[in-house]
Amino acid sequence: MQFGIFSVSDITTDPTTGHTPSEAERIKNIVTIAKHAEEVGLDVFALGEHHNEPFFSSSPTTTLAYIAAQTDKLLLSTATTLITTNDPVKIAEDYAMLQHLSGGRVDLTMGRGNTGPVYPWFGKDIRAGIPLAIENYALLHKLWREHVVDWQGKFRTPLQSFTSTPRPLDEVPPFVWHGSIRSPEIAEQAAFYGDGFFANHIFWPASHTQRMVELYRQRFAHYGHGDPDQAIVGLGGQVFINKNSQDAVKQFRPYFDNAPVYGHGPSLEDFTRETPLTVGSPQQVIDRTLGFRDYVGDYQRQLFLMDHAGLPLKTVLEQLDLLGEEVVPVLRKEFAALKPAHVPDAPTHASLLAKKLAAKEEVAA
């Protein structure tokens, strides 16, 4: 199982000090955070994409390439790549490029984005969110698999004799996850292609995630990619850890109370009960996270949100230490012990390449 962190790239005032990091500071910090994720033994760093304030990450491949150059093993991913407002041709080119530069340490999570005003800035309409996600991804999927593409759709200029360059590394397209909170069409899309399904999972009741994953697994089997429990599932999670659970609550509460998404709303206690948010000791985080498996089944990737709501760099790095030293090693062992042999790991470039070579050999034989 893969463990990692994901960032939405928000620039938020620290409510305990009143300090608002500059863009320069926050961007420098995110690189430090990603590098530290590798240092503490995490597998994945995923970065969001936004085109409005207060977020900095409008150009994720630039950031991810810079991080790739300073890491060795860390898998770089997105959370999410806007499949609606981006040109699929540019996604195909950018991420194939990143794949080459990082030595295959890339996958992507597709998302629609949720802010109405952003769409028209890119000539799109949020009301066509689902059709855009479906058509754009169909083109992206083709561009990475067919050398010369002729194509026509509703949302972009037709393509004639187009080749997206560079070609995917080893002609193996990056693995793709599709993220959605509650749109069954997106679970269906992931299932149709045999891609992964990533449930954001945080900020919402677990029942949403359960229903979406259940649908994805059923349809994954329907489209002949394997049994339902062989579908590739990723989950988000949100934790704040302290060796002493009382201190975790005390330390995190001001950030919770003022957080952009849920601040000034429910109490920390209510939100912890209603959503997967866990604030407490390493053991509490371990127990809660293992419990996710009870309603989504054996899954392949767990990402945690760690650097939001104005938490200062020092705190985020301490959180990563606790996660990497006290939580993830136990989770790795426990999840591995529970997982049946026929449930696959998350695909990586190496595993997809091996699969491709094996298929070639089979044809040759």
Binding site: E188, F203, H208, G263, E274
Partner: protein
């Protein structure tokens, strides 16, 4: 006898509240009108005061906490709704509106609804027609023609068989008749897949 569900939404704030009193009278009258039409109403009453924090939290977080989720599901699955608000500052109360702001926009389509309100004086009575009725029209509910308004005067001893009671009886009969015309309500599962992917790809 066929069984149908009646959900009563009361936005009264005080306890006891005259809004709840009116809501209960409307529910009882609807149950009686149902009996005459071979309909047995199973009544659920929702006090919005108990859900006030949850309603605001739903607005702030985008999902309903447990108790509110139950209330919203009850409204969506109801065969008929009785909605009663106190009149504040010339309109429905903010709490009443906030609740219906978080009800799914399609949950009340073709659903029989009886609207009612309470206030200190009869001068507020048309708030039912200029505030509540248009809101439910927007939600494409079927609001019965008779709306019921009760001012402090109406609760006087001389009104037990008076004007208020006759309106309650008439409105309840209209609501039961609308329910009698319809099949039992069905709820669409938001997580169910309604389109074929091949069609989406086209």
């Amino acid at each position: 006898m066929k069984q149908r569900t009646l959900v009563v939404v009361s936005a009264g704030l005080s306890q006891p509240s005259s809004t709840r009193l009116l809501a209960d009278q409307l529910a009882a009258a609807t149950a009686a009108a149902g009996e005459a039409r071979e309909i047995e109403f199973v009544v659920t009453t929702i006090e919005l005061r108990d859900l006030a924090h949850d309603i605001m939290n739903h607005m702030l977080t985008g999902f309903p906490p447990g108790a509110l989720k139950e209330a919203l599901d009850a409204v969506a699955g109801a065969d008929a709704v009785i909605a009663v608000s106190p009149i504040f500052t010339a309109s429905y109360s903010g709490l009443f509106k906030s609740f219906f702001d978080v009800v799914d926009k399609d949950a009340l389509v073709d659903k029989p609804v009886l609207i009612a309100a309470t206030a200190g004086t009869a001068r507020h009575s048309l708030a039912l027609e200029h505030a509540l009725r248009p809101m439910f029209a927007y939600l494409r509910a079927v609001v019965v023609p008779t709306s019921v308004f009760a001012a402090s005067d109406d609760w006087g001893a001389d009104s037990a068989e008076g004007f208020l009671q006759s309106r309650i009886t008439r409105a309840a009969a209209e609501l039961a008749t609308e329910v009698g015309r319809r099949e039992a309500a069905t709820v669409t599962d938001p997580f169910a897949l309604t389109v074929d992917f091949e069609d989406l790809l086209k």
